[in-house]
Every structure is written in C-alpha cells, then in structure tokens.
Symmetry: C2
Subunit: 454 residues, 2 copies
C-alpha cells in the first residue's frame, strides 16, 4: 500500500471507526494496528477526545507507546493528561527510553515525578538516568535499548541472543561488543553476522575500529558524523569508554530537521518557523519580540540621521539614497553572515582558520564593493546629471559593502569565540547594525564634502 | 577507535605513507583499508597528485570506488580525470549505481560517453537507465542494488539468497517481495527474517502494506516520508507498481542537508552558502548577481523617494525615519516569508489551506502593526515633541507592517501556485519590495497631511 495522504487517512479511519463504535474489539484492533504508527498518530490528533479515550481501552500500553512516539512532542501533553495515570506510566515504560525522556522533558516537573513513582522500578531508573543529560547532547538523544554481546561468544550464541533481544531493541543491525568491564571493544553488523559461519568467534569477525561519540557531544556534530560515515547507529560512551547507549539514524534525521529549521528561523528573526501556528496571536507572539528590538535599533538609526539634520536641510536630495545604501549594507551583511554561520555549523571554519576567512571576506567585500560602486556611480551620474553626487553615492556604496561584508562575517565568528550560538546574530539584526554603519559612512562623507555638493 | 579529527587524520597518514614510498604493498593495503572510506577520501583530497597516482595502483577498482563515494561530488572531477580511463570505468562499474550516476552528472557529456563505452555492458546499461531521470526525483537518487525474494520462498531459501547477495546489495535490512510480473507485493525486514522459523513461507511473514514512492516523486517529499515513518529504505516503483530501485537513509540524509542548505542560501540571497569557497573571487561570484539585482531594485526605491522631493524639501525631518520604516517593512516581510516558505516545504500549507494562512498573516500583521505603531508613536512624540510627526510615523509603521506581512506571505504562495520554487523569493528580495511599499505609504501619508506637519 502507498503511504497515506492526509485526506486518505481520514477516509481510512471512517472504515475503521464503525468497529470501535459497535464494540467489535478484535476487528478494530486488526484494522487499526495494520496502519503504520505514524498514520495512527495522525488519526489520534484528528479525532474527538472521547473517541481517543475509547481507543486507549482497546489497545495495550505497548501499542499506545508506538503511537505516542510519532506525535509531535510540542503537542503531546494533552494526550498523557487525558489517560489514566497508571496507564500513562505503563505507556512511558514501554516507549524507547530516548523518546520517553524527550516527552517527559515537555511535561511539568510534578507530573513527571508522579509518573516515575507509579512506573515499575527498572523503567523509572533508566528514564531518570537519561533525564540528567543536558539538552542537545548525545546523552539526551541516546536510547538504552541496545544489544551487546561478549567478544568470546560464537556467532551461533550471538544470533540466539540477538533473536531473543530483537523485539525490544531499538536496532539490531549493529551489535556492540563489550569486555568484562563493559567497555566497548568492537562492533559487528547483522550483515556480517549472517554471512559468517556459525562456529566462528565474535572477536575474530568484529571490527575493532568502532566509531563512538562521548556522552556530552553536541547533537549537531553527531548528525554530521553519521552523514559523513553513513552509519545507521552510533554507540555513546563515557570517558572510560563504557557503553552507555546508542543513537539511531531515525533520531538523527529529526535532529537534522530541528537544527536546519533553527538556523533558518534565526536568519529570519523569528523564534520558531515551525510548530503549531494556527492562530494570528501565537504567530504574533513569536515575531513581536524581535520586531520590538529591531524597532529600538531602528530608532537609533533615526537619531543618527537626526544628527545630520543640517546636512539634510542643505542638500535634501541626499535623503533619496538612504534606503538604497542602507539596504545594500543589509543585503551584503546577510550574505556574509549566512556563509559564516554555515561555515561554523559545518566545521569548515576550523578547517580553513578564522584569519583566512576574514581575509577572504575582505577580498569579497572589495570586489563586490568596487563593482557595485562603479555601477551606482554611473546610474546616479546619468540620472541626476550630478558628478559629485554620483561620486558620493558610489564611494559610499563601495566603503559600505566592504565594511558590511566584514561585519557580517566577524559578528558570528566573535560570538562563536565567546560560546554564543552565532545563529542568534540573525539576518535582520545584522541588517540593522549595518544600517547604522552605512548611514554613518554616507552622511559622514556628505558632510565632509558638502562644499562640492551645494 | 574514535572517529578521526581533521588533524589526527594526517598524523595517521604519516604512519601509513612510509609503506607506500617503500613499496610495501601488503602493509600499505592493510593499514589504509583499515580506515573508514570517509577518512580515506579525506586523505585523498589532501595528498599530492603523484601520491594519489601511486595509491590507485595499489588498490582494486572496488576499493577505489568506496573512497570515491565519500568525496564531495563538486570536487570529484580531477580524480577521475587523473586515473587511467579503463581503471576509472571499472571504478564506476563497482560503485553504487546512484552514486555513479550522481558523479557522472557532474562530468562533461563526452567524458561520460567514453566511460560508458569502456565499461562492461551490464553496469553501463544500469547507469544509462538512471541517467535519464530528472534531477531531485526518486529516480535520480535511487540505487538498483537491492535484494528481492519471491513470495513463495521459505525463510531458509530467502536467507540463503540474502547471504549470497549481501556483499553487493546497498542494504539487506529490508528485503522486498515481488510477484511473477516483478510487481512489488510485500516487504520483510531482516529483523523479522531472523526471528522467524526456517520453514515458514515468506508470504505468511511479510508485510503487505509496503510504503513505496513513485519514480518521479520529489526528493524533499521522500525525505519527509522517511523521517515521519522512520524507514531505513524505501522502494521506488513505476505506475504499474514494478519495483525499480530503492532509496536508502544515508542518501536521504544528504538530501536533507542539501535542501536545508538550499533554503538557507536563498533566504540570505546567495547562490550557495556551502561548497568550496576558498577564494574571494569565487565567493564574490556567488554574491554579486544578487547584489546587482538588489542595487537596481534599490535605485527604484530611490527614484520613488525622488518623486516626493518637494515634500522632503519642506519637511526635511521626514528623512530621519526612512531607514526605520523601510527596515521594519523588510524585517516583518522576511519573517512572514520564512514561515510561508517552510510551510510549503513541510506540507503544512496544504493541510491548513491557503486562505486560512492569508487570514492568519493579516491578523498577525494587525497585532504586530498596532503594537509597534503605538510604541514608535510614543518614542517619536516624546523625542521630537511633535504630535503630528509621531502620528505620521506610528500610522505608517502600522499600515506598513500589515501590508509587508501579507506581502511576505503572499509572494511565496503565489510563486508556488505558478510552480516556481518559493524559496527563490529570498529575504533581501522581499525586503527590497517591502522598502518600496513602505516608502510609498510613508510619503503618501506625509504628502496628504502636509499642512499638519508644517
């Protein structure tokens, strides 16, 4: 079957819901559980509350756990609140620990504590361990449901062990090999397991070059490694190389999406471009803080121009080119900023070295500045038939582009140096800073050469 | 072993290169092939040309193919040009067909034709088939190295078949089930295979609800499905449901990175934020076209203000607020644009309906417009002690924010309607358009109420 389009999904649901309303438990279960958990989750989001309450009574905690893992974490709270707390605790216990932890992090502390109290001790312990890790680190996205074997086992023993563990493990496509002290010593893929002879020993077949990440590693760096090395899972270790958990590729795809969306949001000066944005009010709430900050920065620009009021009074035509010059400063600054932010994100910056980047941006600013400067000189000279005005605007654009390009590149580099996320220096922020700089250059030059313009 | 940091990699290489220079083939092969192909590729990019030529002679085409699959496709051409053409053709034949096709698409047509002529017929045929698919569709990113079994096989027969095919297949973690006409009828994961009894029949164990994509499907949509459904691979079918290929998760991670970087680049008005950007000249080449377009648009703004020269002459203080008003229009437009572009990319737009989005944006513009309008009215009124000037600037900001928010949302929606990639309406582009609108509103109001301002 094809995957379900949004409109198909509710049509499919219409064929299933009769069974629910007529109390035909077996038929409902057969039809509903035949759907992919992602589609089950989308149906959960669409139906009325009382329908959902009835569905819970028809499914096991394990089956509900599968559904919950596919609901947006931003929107999941009401689902767990409407369930019977005992049932909800069982659902958490059945989920992958990494998903359970992600969701519990969205709920309020009291609720989390009460769920953990009701839950069976083993599951509660595993979840509590993971709740301690800092957000966006390996520890916070890893799961503890992995399969390990001892280096001395035969392939036959390992396969038997794997078959037993398969239903609960997050992935069985990599099996990690540990020594007596639970230190990670090797890895073997299921591919290698099934093509090996049954009486071979693991230590002869495993790869000893296990790529692992430390538990405090940043999730963006892990995503980069997984993409570069084409792994389906990565083991997470502590500083003594003890195996703590694994990170699987499906979680990394979510990380990639989250990080990309995050950078994009910041470039557009908005707290979060995605997420539930149904009402104008929620959406205004995400944008207003930025707009207000930018309004105050804009007032600074206005007061700066105010200082040149005398110049403006004498040569009113100067005002015509303010948006052009400020706009070009903003545009070139945003370009340089985007390159620098991506360079830091992809690690290119370390490879090339910061001074090299600053030199390159200075060169880029010089080339674009001279080109645009000459172009606008010609436009203004021909249009206004005024040589000195043309020279003033051309020279201003040239200097502005050089300075603004450097500023766009330097601001994120400096922020990164002081451990501030460089993506916070959003497009509109750098644009407004560059507005200020460009106005200063333009009116400074105009005031200095006033006699030529009159 | 930990994965290799950039500086470690060349240290490791130093311990290996002696073997190469002393012609100790076996030792060199043992040490070099023990590295992950990604690290091998990075070493290839760093060493001198003559060192690489020697390495080729020590490795088999299959081993070189592994390395080539991990080199950036933008930078791969020189490697294939320096190899002996016969050897290069063998390397292509040994690569995954999807990677071979991606690389061949980067080379010039004549070279591609000559490689295909030298190559063995089977491989050439497979590659030629894939070269026809349009870029960024399922066909262009799928590989034809997949494992299929017949529905009537037993688990034992299937496992035997799998063991035989494993070395060449792109993934063996999903096995696809086809009928007599090669139509896709089911899928079975390796996980299910190994926990099944050996004498069970595939058709009893397989899942008949195979999620598949059609060969012309857009790669961004495929990435979304893979993320939502947590798949490691997806089968690609034609309109008669014949299995044509598979797409694996490692390729999808590259697609996600590419699409994210693409949207980000366009928001910053730059042709490509990533890629080899070592020299100021290359980097200026990517930015200048946008800057020149924006320079001409900016000249339009200038000529628009020029039409209000009389107003400006009478009330020079008006000029002070030009960058503030134009800047706010640009900022709010970029926010609305980013939300709309992401909404289209993630499919949220279809779900919510376009008219709902337009209404929401109008509401958002109203809320932000009124808030910022009142705020700036107070600032200007207190600062300049001029009620009418405060009202003028406040009212202008209010109307501007409403119109600019709507424009930011509408432009990508309209572009999408006409099948133009909405991300092309980059941040600076919408910013410049909104500059024009805001100037018109501001000076329009100022001219109309001139008598109050004097």
């Amino acid at each position: 079957m094809e995957h379900l389009e949004d409109h198909e999904r509710m049509d499919v649901w219409k064929t299933i819901e009769d069974a629910l309303f007529n109390d035909q438990i077996d038929q409902f279960r057969a039809e509903f559980l035949d759907l992919h958990p992602y589609d089950q989750a989308k149906i959960f989001e669409e139906v009325e509350d009382d329908v959902r309450l009835q569905i819970y009574t028809y499914l096991s905690p394990e089956e509900v756990a599968d559904v919950m893992e596919h609901i947006d974490y931003d929107e999941i709270e009401p689902f767990f609140t409407e369930m019977d707390p005992r049932f909800a605790a069982q659902v958490f216990a059945e989920m992958s620990t990494d998903d359970a932890v992600d969701i519990l992090n969205e709920l309020d502390k009291n609720k989390v504590a009460s769920f953990l109290t009701i839950m069976d001790d083993d599951s509660a312990e595993e979840i509590k361990d993971l709740l301690h890790y800092e957000e966006k680190t390996a520890g916070s996205i890893m799961t503890t449901e992995f399969v390990v074997v001892k280096a001395g086992m035969t392939i036959r023993e390992a396969m038997l062990h794997l078959r037993k563990e398969a239903p609960d493990a997050e992935t069985i496509y990599y099996t990690y090999v540990i020594d007596e002290d639970k230190r990670l010593v090797g890895v073997i893929s299921l591919r290698d397991l099934i093509i090996s002879e049954e009486d071979w020993v693991i230590s002869d077949v495993m790869s000893e070059r296990v790529v692992s990440v430390s538990v405090g590693e940043d999730q963006e760096e892990i995503a980069r490694m997984m993409r570069d090395y084409d792994f389906l899972a990565l083991p997470v270790v502590d500083f003594q190389n003890h195996l703590l958990g694994i990170i699987t590729v499906d979680d990394i795809m979510d990380v990639m999406e989250e990080e990309a969306s995050d950078d994009y949001s910041k470039l557009a000066a908005i707290s979060d471009v995605d997420g539930p944005d149904d009402r104008a009010f929620t959406s205004a709430k995400k944008r207003l803080p930025w707009l207000v900050i930018l309004l105050f920065l804009g007032s600074l620009t206005a007061s700066l121009i105010g200082r040149f009021e005398e110049t403006l009074d004498q040569v009113a035509i100067l005002a015509i080119f303010i948006p052009l010059i400020a706009g070009m400063a903003g545009n070139t600054g945003t370009q340089a900023l985007a390159v620098a932010v991506r360079g830091i994100a992809t690690g290119e910056t370390y490879k090339q070295g910061k001074s090299k980047i600053v030199f390159r941006e200075a060169g880029t600013g010089l080339i674009t500045g001279i080109s645009c400067g000459i172009l606008i000189f010609l436009i203004v000279f021909i249009w206004q038939n005024n040589l000195y005005l043309g020279l003033l605007v051309g020279l201003s654009i040239m200097i502005t582009l050089i300075v603004a390009t450097l500023a766009g590149a330097l601001v994120p580099l400096v922020m990164h140096r002081f451990n501030i996320d460089p993506a916070v220096a959003s497009g509109p922020f750098i644009t407004t800073i560059n507005d200020l700089i460009s106005i200063l250059i333009y009116f400074g030059l105009a005031t200095a050469f006033m006699s030529l313009l009159l």
